[in-house]
Amino acid sequence: MSTVAPPALTAHEEAMLAGDEGPATALCMRLVVGVARANGAERLVEVESAHGDGCLYHGVAGLEFTERLVELGGRVRVRTTLNVGSLDLLHPGMVRADADLAGKGRRLMDAHVALGCEPTWSCAPYQTGHRPAAGSHVAWAESNAIAFVNSVLGARTDRYGDFLDLAAAVTGRVPFAGLHRSEARRAELVLDLSPVSRNLLDHDAAWPALGALLGERAGTRVAALTGLPGDLTDGGRTEDRLKALGATAASAGGVALFHVVGVTPEAPTLDAVVRPGARAVRVTNADLRAARDRLNTVTEGGLDAVSLGTPHFSVAEFAQLAAELADGPPFADSVAVYVSTSRGVLEQARELGYAQAVERAGGRILTDTCTYVTPVLDPRARTVMTNSGKWAWYAPANLGIDTVLGSLAECVASARSGRAVRDERVWA
């Protein structure tokens, strides 16, 4: 029997654990070390930044934990952005929060700011200036943000959740385990997309469909995707496709890292990322269509609402939406159209006139939160169309509604006509 359980701590880390840097740091270090004991990490690793997901109200426990850290004098020691909260602080009328949610949701958001976190309130911090360098160690929470920072930016985070994100930010440490280690970042599964028609890959709904398929096939394993087009310097198109892919894969499976060979930073070639003996699976149009179909609970009929922007809309997505809306008719009166985004992106979208184009068509812009995590939609809404695989995955359970997945252009056409309009030919 070993006498001391890992992890081995540095003198500084031992001092933090002993309370030399205050009781909040000691509490946070107990959590970091507790996780390291569970996952077998031999040591801790310093992180350069954090993204916290604990600011969405899930109940008293999260609020009491965060306020305890504030009372104990806690302060983050690395740059820490924040995920969505339960409220839209810029547009207070948008969320139909009862007094309990409004009060406790706001206290929770305030407590995070009191710890020194940045009030970004976005699940896409990577599109409002928080872009860690490839190879750097970070502690990010929120499953889409984790998938993006690992896969598209090539920084290294394991899957962190509420509490450990803050504990990592306060201590500047995480267990050296999981996706922080190079060997864990190699692909155990290869999906070959070369049989899929280029025409279908130009249809933006193909990417959440691919995410659903990846999540189902990979579970929590790392996968490499071959035969996909893309260029991360193309002004945002590829980045937003991979954002949609990763968000859906993280929801439908537990995907925290995927490699797109020839596109993402760690995967110049398949050989660079694949584990010897990894199984390769060919993916066809029919596979993608079946995965897309599993994201719908209905396929046609009247619509009550359209929800865009999960994860939060980027400036490039606003530009695409504004182009779709140009000179066309407004949305049908019977369809409420929501675009969720960050306050940082909204500021740019307003300067560029994109936000005004959405509002002229009758759309409503939501910031700081999202339509599937807090009460925004009319409670009478029954059928909602979305371009987001993540939204389609969670909303039926969260909101008790039916969903239809479509491309951005199909969402716009459907919002105008009042009925779900989709082009099925592209999936043949």
Partner: protein, 152 residues
Amino acid sequence: MNGSGPDRATREWTGRSLHQGTAAGTLLHLDAPLSFWGGVDSRGTVVDHHHPQHGVSLTGRVVAMPSGRGSSSSTAVLAELIRSRAAPAALLLADCDTILVIGALVAQEMYDIAMPIVELVPEQLPGLPDGAFAVVAAGGAPGPATVTLEER
């Protein structure tokens, strides 16, 4: 069988503690990974429409599942379930899901309630029969933990 004989077989499994605690309850074997956030409501019921055990209550059960899935907010949902006494009695996992471990660690720090989490080897999970009565004893992580089954 006359009902009074030695018709109950007791079996003991040894695993690795991911979080300390002792618990007993009826075993619930989940057939697919489950995300607590978006998948379990505040009363401890599975509400994930994609999950084969939609509608089943986790409260007080010794829940065996292959792994967690999806949202990292599951930590806060689990901690809140523990605080409000609607959580499973224990979790038996086929791999170390740190998302769930953190929820248990915070509930221990904040409310002094210890919900054991045990890692078993994946081959052991199919041998855990739904409905058996299970007693779970886990020391401090990463030490040994035992799961004792009474099949009825």
